[in-house]
Symmetry: C2
DNA sequence: CGTCGAATTGATGTCATTCAACTACAGTGG
DNA sequence: CCACTGTAGTTGAATGACATCAATTCGACG
């Protein structure tokens, strides 16, 4: 759930753990062999609705997304995950419930599969590391709350502007109809919002 | 974040910890003296926007809510917390950020104030207890995700029906305009939705 | 009894959706 | 190399859902 995509070195998950998670190089070495890295192609589905989602996915390179199919039969994008983000149906991993989302690859990607008790093993190495997962969870919550506020209050244009502000780097990587889906509007509406903004002389 | 209001015995937080949290009676005794219980009156504001939210609130009796003021100047209800629920701006407690929400009392209430590192102290008593907080966090996330889905996909009527299903006991306790605010619609619209449902011969 | 906020109702406006047509472009196979 | 096809994006006209504004009713409470 943290920002700043980087230029996708191999094993950026290791650097992430040590730099952002504050986990010693040594400990990273000790546990990382329990991890699998996987390459997926654009369009590949990693988790389907009804599956058990057994892993948390860390994106080293590329772009994943999660989405549901509403009762209206339409896709609703829940989250995008570019480099250095996690993506997962936490309820499914944690409670062993069938997944309520799809997770698929928007671009060819290289990802790290983190199994359910990876964090537990990490916590066993050093009690402080339990706090790392805690931080991830709190970040996640903060993030969804921001989104909730927008959906509750803001009209389409403001939601779009806020999306640009939060994910400036995704603007050119994600097709417009997916952004529309993330914003909770139709592609046509987003097209018109963009036109309006252009008329107002708005530059990204 | 768990259901089933009860008939508000004194110290229902203790029972909650032992029954739901699986924490031994003895350990509950050991730490509960660090907790304060407080009575608040309908309308009292516990946390204001900009304040530091220093506590997680557990509702033993009564009803709290959290809400923001959108840029449109309107209230948006984030969450209701009846008996046996927690309510908190987690980002504020965890990251020491100024609160982005108000928390106030919808009814006269008796609440337990849980300070930021209560869970840490609990975890120190018994390593397994760390998992309790983890479970709370995951429940919270699952809950907001459900909400996200509704806001993304469902029209007013479906959101209302889903609200009734999730919080049947709140229907009679929360004024209609607050429910409307929770659903992201105006009180007038909710009134019409209800009328429609009545015409369709819908019974709560 | 009078007042105030909550809820309903009607008239009207606005924003986003829907449906359909059209353009642009990328990928495929002849 | 070019036609064929499918998907993304744009645009227009009509519709629909919800908001807004204003008037009225209802009920709680001093």
């Amino acid at each position: 759930m943290l920002r700043n995509p980087i230029d996708a070195p191999e094993n950026s998950f290791g650097s992430y753990l040590s730099q952002i998670g504050g986990i010693s190089e040594e400990d990273v070495e000790n546990i990382k062999e329990g991890l699998r890295t996987k390459k997926v192609s654009k369009g590949d589905i990693l988790v389907g609705i009804g599956d058990l989602c057994r892993h948390n996915f860390f994106v080293e390179k590329g772009l994943l997304r999660s989405y549901t199919i509403g009762e209206d039969g339409k896709e609703h994008v829940i989250q995008f995950a570019p480099e250095n983000w996690f993506i997962v149906d936490r309820a499914s991993v944690y409670f062993n419930d069938p997944s309520e989302v799809y997770i698929d690859a928007v671009e060819d990607s290289r990802i790290v599969l983190i199994d359910g008790d990876f964090m537990d093993r990490l916590a066993k190495l050093d009690g402080d590391y339990a706090k790392f997962n805690d931080r991830l969870l709190h970040n996640h919550i903060r993030h969804i709350h921001k989104r909730l506020n927008l959906l509750l209050g803001a009209p389409a244009e403001k939601r779009y502007l806020s999306f640009i502000e939060m994910y400036p780097n995704l603007l050119l990587r994600v097709p417009q109809w997916m952004i529309a889906s993330y914003l909770g509007i139709t592609p046509e509406s987003l097209s018109r919002v963009r036109k309006e903004l252009a008329n107002k002389n708005f530059k990204v």
